[in-house]
Subunit: 136 residues, 2 copies
Amino acid sequence: MRKTVLTFGLLILALLLLFQVSKYAIIGGSLRMEYALAAVALVFFFVGIYLNKKSLSKKHLPPNKIDRQKIMALELSKREYEVLKEIALGLSNREIADKLFLTESTIKTHVSNVLLKLNAKRRTQAIQIAKALQII
Amino acid sequence: MRKTVLTFGLLILALLLLFQVSKYAIIGGSLRMEYALAAVALVFFFVGIYLNKKSLSKKHLPPNKIDRQKIMALELSKREYEVLKEIALGLSNREIADKLFLTESTIKTHVSNVLLKLNAKRRTQAIQIAKALQII
DNA sequence: ATGGCACTCATACTAAAGTACTAAAATGTC
DNA sequence: GACATTTTAGTACTTTAGTATGAGTGCCAT
């Protein structure tokens, strides 16, 4: 917040300066009016783009990004979370086992634990819950 | 594309007009230079914002919204698509059957057809594919 | 060093999911 | 009305998924 105010202040100051400089330069005859107008136009054009980007970036980005806080709160271990991600990719237990160089037994154990911790009855429900919680 | 070119052309024309008008108005003495500069600054400021918003809206908005074209292209029937959505909600065949007042047999038939048409081996993979295709 | 925890794996089941095929209504189209 | 789809449903299996339980290993913190 303080940073925003400071940036704004500096910007306005710089612009007023540009304003005055161009005004007196024109009166003094050392600067053509077209150039002054073009310079002002260009500067404000980019200021508009800059400010717009600033305000948009704070309202459009938060639809994704994973929530590590919730993963901890659910007490999901590293392996369990890893398996959960593979489930969401649509892999079978066999395929996950091969991918992670483990046996299907181990994967089943992890899956069971994930379902318990996410309070899901099926892996498809686990996917839905995980997405709702923004942990995948 | 043609629309974009047209908009751009009109904008540039309008700006050149503003440019010339302000220049001659100042020379004629009917307009103070400060006002001309302020006007140009304001216009370009908003043009900057406008153009920026245009370019961003085409890169940030499309993360959602379903693609009915693809649903048709995949030849998914109404029922099959309905079942697919329930699968994505994490329901079992039994639960889907109860929800749609059908038997589990019927749901299995639909599910098998959905898997075939989406080229998926499992329902979890069907979810992943459907999301990638933006049909759910 | 030891008790706790995460990770690994196994066996033995039970329960879902998925396949293959068949077939009768229901629906919409020409 | 005839024809093509869609929707519904069934039987009979095969394959995955999921549960329960036990147990060995490695790691880390007290």
